[in-house]
Every structure is written in structure tokens, then in C-alpha cells.
């Protein structure tokens, strides 16, 4: 077991983990954040996408110990006081989901991408979601949702956690930085 300290959605968690624990299982099973899904065994589907220091990563292909001292944002970290994040709202409005299994990963990949490219065109959105598979929608509504969400984010100047990968860690954690340490 190793002691790690990870800031997840603005809250610092200290926990003992086995070195072989994957980040996604740490989030789901130790922290109870089950919004991050596991859809494959081959690092292909992107259902497990979270932001690590503001950059999208597949949480099934990182060890929890690799996140020690870092900043993770999951789908649960997007809404503020019960109000959906503009990207979540756009997926709802544009019918960007059917079964919903891929949706948290799609939203996290999109939000991560938009922190570096706030005004993408349709082709760029499709490229940006290359690492996320959806078995239901055929992608059209997902792409439309991301374009609408991007517009809404520009209009509301939304920022998401972790400093966009900035080395100085100067990012804002989505308006819900809570004080204190939570030890599960």
C-alpha cells in the first residue's frame, strides 16, 4: 500500500492504494465517484476520460499512484451548486446521448479540448473526440452538442480545473474549491 494525496474536483483526498490500482477504480470504488465509466480493457473507448491537471486522460490507463500530488477533475466536478455545466446542458439540449454510457467521457474530453481551442469547427471537434467511442448515437448529435457547448462556454467564460496543464497549477477548480481534507 502507498499513501497518496490527490485533489479531485477541488477536494484533497488522502488514501492508501495498492500500486496496481488503476486511477479509474480509485475514483469509482474508493471515492465513490461512479460517473467515470469503464467501457473496455484496451484503452480504446474513452468512457473513463477525466482531466489530469486540466488535460484529458484515460483513467483506466493511469495508476492511482501516478496521480499522487496532482489535480483530477471528473464529471462530478463540472456542475456548480446543482446547475449543469454549459457542456452538460448542451448534451441535454442537443440530445447528445442515448444510453449515456459514453457521455461522461465525451464531456470531459470536450471540456479538456476546449480549454486549448475555445472556438473549434465541426471537423476539429470530430478529431478532438477521436479517443472516445459511442455505440449508440452515430456521433452527429454529440458533435452538435460540443459546438453548442463551446459557444455557451465562450459566452459564459467558463473555466475548468487544474490550470489547463499549466505548470504553475494556476487554474480555477470550477467554482467549488472546498476547504479541508477528506480521508475516505
Amino acid at each position: 500500500m502507498r499513501r497518496i494525496s490527490v485533489t479531485v474536483n477541488g477536494v484533497r483526498h488522502e488514501a492508501d492504494v495498492e500500486p496496481r490500482a488503476l486511477l479509474v477504480y480509485f475514483l469509482r470504488e474508493q471515492l465513490g465517484l461512479t460517473g467515470t465509466n469503464v467501457g473496455c480493457d484496451t484503452s480504446s473507448c474513452g468512457a473513463c476520460t477525466v482531466l489530469l491537471n486540466g488535460q484529458s486522460i484515460k483513467a483506466c490507463t493511469a495508476l492511482a499512484v501516478q496521480a499522487d500530488g496532482q489535480d483530477v477533475t471528473t464529471i462530478e466536478g463540472l456542475a456548480t451548486n446543482g446547475t449543469l455545466h454549459p457542456m452538460q446542458q448542451a448534451f441535454h439540449d442537443e440530445h447528445g446521448l442515448q444510453c449515456g454510457f459514453c457521455t461522461p467521457g465525451m464531456i470531459m474530453a470536450s471540456v479538456g479540448y476546449l480549454s486549448e481551442h475555445s472556438d473549434p469547427d465541426e471537423a476539429e471537434v470530430r478529431e478532438a473526440l477521436e479517443g472516445n467511442l459511442c455505440r449508440c448515437t452515430g456521433y452527429h448529435n454529440i458533435v452538435r452538442a460540443v459546438l453548442e457547448g463551446a459557444k455557451a462556454m465562450r459566452d459564459s467564460e467558463t473555466v475548468v480545473g487544474g490550470g489547463n496543464g499549466a505548470a504553475d497549477g494556476s487554474g480555477v477548480a470550477m467554482g467549488r474549491v472546498r476547504e479541508g481534507v477528506v480521508v475516505p
Binding site: 500500486p19 480493457d41 484503452s43 476520460t49 490507463t61 478532438a128
Partner: protein
């Protein structure tokens, strides 16, 4: 699946990492981005007993302009390379190739050192490094040595690195005024290359004066298409480029697998050479 149990260390200096690897013996492995190693461990195709996580060695994250060479730290991610302004001219090939690897999530984690050390014949960066005559710097318990890319790749998943060595840097001579490009054929988005072609082209008044071509996944190691390179010298139009591209068969008979027969691989290589050279020249 979850990997088999292992010991884990996260050293904070290169010396510490080298000592841990030396003590760990043959079943100790460095862990960089984990995007080749962790998938293998999840499938239990790899079961190292000790992982030495070099992810904290931030001194190995740099792209440096050193006058006539560019030095790239082993821990530079594909994402960082694809945005590095220092990679221009012929060296722009590295940025181009890095930007075509996997998907954004993979590029945020995977590193150049890991890609090169892993020596997967389907990896994209090795062919580019071969075409650029890059050097790979390895640090071991006894000091550091430099290995030419041409000598580095020994076979599928086999490199000239010793188990006790850490790849610290990739060095490439600057090629201002050269054009370059990379094209790969894949059946689905995000797939690995069935065949890939990296090219660096120097031209003089509309005709090619010098070309270097690296091939991905045509053999157990990346290859140089030397017969094509020679035939391209002096080529000035599509016809001459197409004739030269045919010589790719002289690089040897490619392997066959579930994705492609040897004939199809040769066909793909020929077509991709034509396209990548035409693109680089335009």
C-alpha cells in the same frame, strides 16, 4: 483487467532511478507515460516486479535548440512535441508525427522516450527518427552513451538499451529549409498504422536533391527505403516520384499479419511514399 501486483518507486532524481533499476534486476522496468506498458500489464502480457516511475523527473521534459541540433528530453509527451515551436524545418517531422499518434488522451500521457524504448514496429516516431538520422542518448550506471537511431532498433520490442539504462534524450540535427511529412494507413480512426511513411526532402529549384524515407511497420524494426531515396535524387515531377516509389520493394519483403498481406503492405508503402513526397514538395 487489473495488472498483477508489483512494487512501485517514484524516484526524484535520475541517479536514484538508475540505482533502483540496478537493484531491481531484470524484472524492474521504468514507467514513463504508461501507454504501452500499462495496457500490456492489464492484459498480463507483462508482469514486471518493480516499476520505477520516472514521471516525476521533470528535468527530462524539454525541447532545446542547441545551435545545430535540437535536444528533446525523454519525458516530452506527444502532445507537447506536436506543439513545440523549436521543431521546425526537417525537424518539424517529429511534431507532425507526434500529433498523429493515437488520440488526444494518448498524446497527453505517452512520451517520446517510451515510444522509442518500447521499439514497437507499429510505433510512428521510430521511423521519423530513422529518417532524421537521430541519436538516442542512454544513461546507465556507468555513464551515458549515444546510439544512432539506425543501430537502436534491434527487433520487435527489442532495442539496444540495456535493462539498467534509461533513455534520457533524443538528438536531431537541424534541417532548416527541408520539407517533411508523415502519412499512415489505418483502417479506423485511432488504429495503429498498418504502414506509415516518414519523409524528409530537400529540393533545389523544383527538383529533389536529397530525400530520406523511414518506413513504419514494414518489418520488425523501422526501415530506411534507401533504393527509393537514391531514385528520388533529381526527381522533378509526379512521374519520376512514382517511378522512384516503386523501388520500395527493394527494402525487403514486409511481414504479413491479420491486417495486411505482404503485397498489400508494399502497395501501401508505394502509394504513401508518392503522396507524402508530393505533399512535402507542394
Amino acid at each position: 483487467m487489473i495488472p498483477a501486483a508489483f512494487e512501485y518507486e517514484r524516484p526524484s532524481s535520475l541517479d536514484e532511478a538508475l540505482a533502483l533499476l540496478a537493484d531491481g534486476g531484470d524484472d524492474a522496468r521504468p514507467l514513463a507515460g504508461g501507454h504501452s506498458l500499462l495496457p500490456l500489464m492489464r492484459l498480463r502480457l507483462a508482469r514486471p516486479t518493480l516499476l520505477v516511475d520516472i514521471g516525476g523527473l521533470n528535468d527530462l521534459r524539454y525541447v532545446r535548440d542547441e545551435g545545430d541540433q535540437i535536444a528533446i528530453g525523454a519525458l516530452c509527451t506527444h502532445h507537447a512535441l506536436s506543439h513545440a515551436p523549436e521543431l521546425s524545418g526537417g525537424c518539424g517531422l517529429i511534431a507532425e508525427v507526434a500529433g498523429q499518434i493515437g488520440d488526444p488522451q494518448v498524446r497527453h500521457r505517452g512520451t517520446i522516450g517510451g515510444s522509442v524504448a518500447h521499439a514497437d514496429p507499429a510505433s510512428d516516431l521510430p521511423a521519423a527518427l530513422l529518417a532524421l538520422d537521430a541519436e538516442v542518448v542512454a544513461q546507465g550506471p556507468g555513464g551515458s552513451r549515444s546510439i544512432a537511431a539506425a543501430d537502436f532498433f534491434v527487433g520487435p520490442l527489442m532495442s539496444a538499451l540495456e535493462p539498467s539504462e534509461i533513455l534520457t534524450e533524443v538528438r536531431v540535427a537541424k534541417r532548416e529549409g527541408c520539407a517533411s511529412g508523415y502519412q499512415k494507413f489505418q483502417r479506423r480512426a485511432q488504429d495503429w498504422a498498418i504502414v506509415g511513411v516518414a519523409a524528409v526532402v530537400e529540393s533545389d529549384g523544383g527538383s529533389i536533391s536529397n530525400a530520406a524515407i523511414g518506413l513504419t511497420n514494414m518489418s520488425g524494426t523501422p526501415l530506411r527505403a534507401t533504393a527509393v531515396e537514391e531514385a528520388l535524387a533529381g526527381a522533378a515531377d509526379e512521374g519520376a516520384i512514382a517511378e522512384a516509389a516503386k523501388k520500395v520493394s527493394e527494402a525487403g519483403t514486409p511481414f504479413a499479419d491479420a491486417n495486411a498481406s505482404a503485397e498489400f503492405r508494399l502497395h501501401l508503402a508505394e502509394v504513401l511514399i508518392r503522396r507524402v513526397i508530393a505533399d512535402a514538395m507542394s
